[in-house]
Symmetry: C2
Subunit: 760 residues, 2 copies
């Protein structure tokens, strides 16, 4: 039934001719330089395969010491690099932590080299020089000429299959290198195990098991070649194999089809004519070789590279057309590239037959939903999932179901923190699944059992052993002695608890509501009225001395100092304003944040962002203050929100490789941009409310899944007309600078009138 | 349907009251001292679980150097040792290579120790002293008092579940140590990965993945405790975990339920009253946690240890009653212990739901058969599988099906050489699957597709890249330059090819017959007429110089020198006798073999056997000459067979811990004893013929699966009446000193008349 619906959906999409060609505005190269941590390769919307060039496969250790470069290679590709090591099938988009890079493929010619070489000595390995002038990165398609051997590399993808097309010069010695050691953020012990089975001269299956950011991760593959290889082989870099001495009955380095070990680099050999194309399909599965093969057979039936590419771009176009905008060309590039980046994560984590590996390491069937992985929830609860509730509600429904499946499979009985290929890497603070779940249920997007979802939220929030929750429950805050990020956690728990309370209210679970609405005020416990800042508090109830309002580390915060985090009460700005001395003082304080001069020492310790990712003391490149520019709406100076958000859009998002001021963070930075471009933002997911900002587009039409459209019209839009003069909803003036969810999904029209001066 | 039949079978067995108590004659302790390499623990017939004490968990490396002791611990237990490390669930029986020892459990009290300690400093670890006076080893049951903490340990098993019962003294600090690092023949990199999930306070699941003799092996477990543990924890000995730094949100050492790593030792903590019993069920699966749990639930439903023990011993009794003998008490002990050892391997390798992990690492369903693993075919094709064709034909049918499934899953398209938990460890020479398959089909035991089986044999025998087969096919022998075991292989291939020819003849596959009957004569190419010995031949067709007829290594042989291997033409003794100068010269040569004096240098280089495992130059402790004592039957002096086989039975099999003169080799040594005790032996499996020897029993009744019985009656049996005077089949004199398969399974009676002097 599910498949039938999918076919209907595809048919429907094919006959929807009113689509604009929006793929042309997507520039995946944006964010690949400096701090964006995006990748330029080929993927389809929410695809399980992200087939992309890696410009280095970085080891955690360099001469036995920590190698800081691992951080640069979160997405495998750095625009600044001069060589490409190869093309691998899994990549994180915009994260501040590195992993993945599975199944690296590289075409070469001539003498076999079974090591990647180094950036400083590239000729010593199979890597190749390339130049950006010979490189094309599009949504669903990537192309580059590999200069060393003059090989043209092209790639595209379906949801679960990567397709390669390599155009070779004539040679008796053409090779496809298949490096099973390569991976992003490698370290000596990361490759736990590799298994490869050469079934015939075009079909290879296997798996790779890693102990990385996802601690226990196995990815199966099935790989098919368009042309039979005439020979193949491997180099096994494993050091010790005491069992493999005497009974080695074969020469396992050549044409031996049952390969296993920890450090294996394979090659497949061909004779090629001038301009001959060798194509490869590589399918992934979390479950089995058989499933990988099924995925391949279901998604790419033949060897028509152009058809797969066209389909991939059609899928993108369909998704991008959900928001049609009128804007300058640069804004269109920024907007659709941002929209592209919001539609990359979370990633599909079910096979075509519905199976997936669960957190309990068992094989499960996703019954009636698509299971997703790659939940960077500390980032994405803020704007990405709220965006999905508007423009991708069916997927967000499935994402919540995926979180609930994770919970059901958790021996810890916890919702995901940062879930990642059947693992939780526990990254960052809070328990923000509850925000995503509450928001989806409150907005009517989740069709599962809402009470069970609330129970999961409550159980997670009451897990006393987790990251100070016990102290938080007992004292109302986490003592600074007990946690290095005590303040961030208390503030974020308080917001999350407010989300739980909102959900409980909706479900008439009064007792839960009362418990959690009380906990939602716990942020007050870290507020020092004497200084007006959020500060770490000791177990004895006093504030920790030697407090530095500009520092993050050692002050109880993570990815944000007290200047930014002190505004982290998205669910109760009114009370925060009161605590901070009223609306005028609060406005002034926001002004200071956006204009202050930071000392150099600040930049030395701040992660994930460029110096350009900061406006005054406001750090847009990290997430904790993403809502702060909208806080002026609660003061008497809402036009400052309008000014600041336009400034942030202008400064932090540019249509260039270095155009992102910080990690895109699985689409959160991009989702902020999409919302802000449209003129509103969800300050507190879990509420129905969006704060009005200053739209960047001239107009926008959102095609909703309920069949309605939501239109944003902007009158007098110019670069300098950043101030909103008035806003009409269906022709009637908005009474406040807020709209709600129903105003959007009800199929309405929002009209902004802009001007060069603040409307006071 | 299968299950229904099983139930019928069980009912049938339960109502067969004519069973003798034969379990009392089984002494699993036999062979645990010196070279037998058997284990004393609890298993059921062909059980997947072998729950047995390990007296050391031996590392391949000792201070960075090869540790020769690994060889001693093939079965985990050495009778000579003073301490027990713990009780693990998988063991090889009688092999000359070490592996397994999964999921080691040890009860302790007092201060936690999470390392095993050493034999020389046992108090430094959790191991305990024990003494044989407090030890009981029975078929299906093992008991020992652990002296250090005065804990009584008892264990029994079903096919797929081990059951433990530990009787503790009173203490607030009683522990069950669960060591996932421990294993037999460990080395630094052997533990590939471990995963454990603590589901609740009595249920734990997980898996262990090793790179051992079985290169790619994963075993899943489900473990249940009869009493809830009040706390648990782990020590993770992994050195490097760069991903596990900052985001460690829990204290993972205590009560943390999702554990993964390479080197993990766990503990479960209890308060116990004086004499309190804690019981544990641990089920295995090759497929999944769920399957392990299913296996547990299907096989042991409650906590009645005595019932499980009784069932296990009933299963043994049923199997042992298939051969009822009348003999001296010592002979009964030797005989039934040997029969016990023949019914240990191969081991069941399907879950109760029929699933198993295949050689291709995929999950398969064994459709209509039980899949078996642990095929030590170089050993067991000789007498073990031929014994099964008489007394376990249904199982041998399934074993051939298991070999065919292995073949179907092999990317190499080869039948198993030494198959082992979804791996082939390629141990030893020849391709003796073909002997087992041919023998089973020729004797009507295999009900699968015989032509497909022949095709598999032919494909395997034509695998040119395997161990010199290409040379063998081209030249008729393997040049000594190309293989260290060129002569052994050529001789064994020739015999195996003869088996293929016999099978082809039966199936009227004339072309195959002709090819392989020609190959069956290839042994002649290594026969040097000038010396009368099998010798290594060079590529140029000349024999290699510096030949030493007594040496094994460097002479082209394995586990046997030329003196023994020169007789390895089991399929054509007539031609061999002719080549060796006729019957009289041949007899004299056999006399010399059994009486020669060996230099000390011989013992220094000969593996797997004690000095007592040798009679003259005849090495019974290794297999290549197992048929040789029966060769006198082809000369004019058959009484010398009778003399020698009685002597071998007397010298090589004793009812003591050191009673086996060599490795039991998965039951081959024992199967030789069973056949010889009954008075006949299959010299060339693949033929219908058995050579008459000299029975050791007074009489024997074999209850066959076809409902018939085969009776061996021995008149005038004494220790000195070793010579056969006449033999009657159903009362009629045998025309030759041979009987055939139908004489046995037709339901007949064989009567031996014995005397103190040879009947010439």
């Amino acid at each position: 039934m599910k498949h039938f619906l999918l076919i209907l959906l595809l048919l429907h999409l094919n006959f929807t001719n009113a689509q604009n060609n929006l793929v042309k505005y997507v520039k995946p190269i944006i964010g690949t330089e400096k701090m964006g941590h995006t990748y330029p390769g080929a993927t389809v919307p929410f695809g399980a395969v992200q087939l992309s060039p890696d410009t280095d496969t970085i080891s955690y250790e360099l001469n036995g010491k920590y190698n800081g470069d691992v951080y640069k290679y979160c997405a495998g590709y750095k625009y600044e690099d001069k060589t490409i090591v190869g093309f691998s099938h899994t990549h994180l988009s915009g994260t501040g932590h590195a992993d993945l890079g599975d199944f690296l493929i590289m075409p070469t010619q001539g003498k076999l080299q079974l090591n990647p070489g180094t950036a400083s000595n590239p000729k010593n390995g199979y890597r190749s020089a390339f130049s950006h002038s010979n490189e094309t990165a599009e949504a669903g398609y990537y192309k580059v000429k590999l200069d060393d051997d003059n090989i043209l590399a092209e790639m595209t993808a379906t949801t679960r299959v990567g397709m390669h097309q390599y155009t070779f010069p004539k040679s008796d010695e053409s090779h496809i290198i298949f490096d099973l050691i390569a991976g992003i953020y490698n370290y000596e012990e990361k490759n736990v195990w590799t298994y490869v089975r050469v079934i015939n001269d075009t079909l290879v299956t296997g798996y790779r098991q890693t102990n990385g950011w996802a601690r226990t991760r196995t990815v199966y593959f099935a790989m098919s070649f368009s042309k039979p290889f005439h020979s193949y082989g491997q180099k096994n870099y494993d050091e010790k194999q005491p069992y493999r001495g005497f009974w080695r009955k074969f020469d396992e380095t050549k044409n031996f089809p049952e390969i296993a070990g920890k450090k294996i680099c394979m090659h497949f050999d061909f004779k090629t004519e001038e301009g001959e194309k060798i194509k490869i399909k590589l399918a992934l599965s979390s479950v089995s070789h058989d499933n990988a093969l099924q995925n391949m057979q279901a998604e790419i039936k033949d060897w028509d590279f152009e058809k797969v590419k066209t389909n991939a771009q059609q899928l993108w176009n369909t998704e991008l057309n959900k928001i049609k905008i009128n804007a300058s060309e640069d804004t269109k590039v920024n907007f659709y590239t941002a929209l592209y980046h919001t539609f990359i994560n979370p990633t599909v984590y079910t096979d075509v037959n519905g199976q997936y590996k669960g957190l309990d390491q068992n094989t499960h069937i996703a019954d009636g939903f698509i299971n997703y992985s790659t939940f960077s929830l500390w980032d994405t609860y803020r704007a990405l999932h709220p965006l999905f509730n508007i423009i991708q509600p069916a997927r967000n429904n499935d994402m919540v179901k995926s979180m609930m499946a994770h919970y059901d499979q958790s021996a810890l009985h916890m919702l995901p923190i940062w879930s990642h290929y059947a693992n939780d890497n526990w990254c960052m603070s809070g328990y923000h699944s509850v925000s995503v779940i509450a928001d989806a249920i409150i907005k009517g997007v989740y069709n599962g059992n809402a009470n069970e979802a609330l129970d999961a939220c409550v159980t997670t929030a009451n897990h006393r052993n987790y990251e100070g929750i016990g102290y938080y429950m007992d004292l109302g805050y986490i003592p600074a002695e007990k946690s290095g990020i005590s303040v961030s956690n208390t503030l974020e728990y308080a917001y999350d608890d407010w989300c739980i309370a909102q959900l409980a209210k909706k479900l008439n679970r009064q007792e839960v509501y009362e418990t959690f609405i009380k906990r939602a005020a716990n942020w007050e416990n870290n507020f020092n009225a004497a200084t007006g800042f959020m500060q770490p508090k000791l177990a004895d109830g006093t504030f920790k001395s030697n407090f530095d309002v500009l520092s993050t580390h050692g002050q109880g915060f993570i990815e944000g100092n007290s200047w930014n985090y002190s505004f982290f009460v998205p669910h109760n700005p009114t009370k925060l304003i009161e605590k901070m001395g009223g609306k005028n003082k609060f406005s002034t304080r926001l002004d200071t944040l956006f204009s202050m001069h930071l000392p150099d020492s600040f930049f030395a310790e701040t992660e994930d962002i460029t110096r350009e990712g900061i406006i005054g003391g406001y750090v847009h490149g990290n997430e904790p203050a993403h809502h702060v520019a909208y806080f002026y709406n609660w003061t008497n100076q809402p036009w400052k929100t309008q000014y600041q958000v336009r400034k942030i859009m202008e400064m932090q998002y540019k249509p260039t490789p270095d155009g992102l001021g910080g990690n895109d963070d699985c689409g959160q930075m991009s989702a902020w941009y999409i919302f802000s471009s449209l003129g509103f933002y969800p300050v507190a997911p879990g509420s129905n409310e969006y704060a009005i900002g200053s739209p960047l587009v001239n107009n926008a039409v959102l095609t909703l899944e309920n069949g309605r459209t939501f239109t944003v019209e902007v009158i007098n839009q110019t670069d300098s007309n950043v101030y909103v003069q008035k806003v009409l909803l269906n022709g009637k003036p908005l009474p406040t600078l807020f709209i709600n969810y129903n105003d959007i999904v009800g199929g309405n029209k929002l009209t902004f009138f802009m001007g060069a001066k603040p409307k006071k």
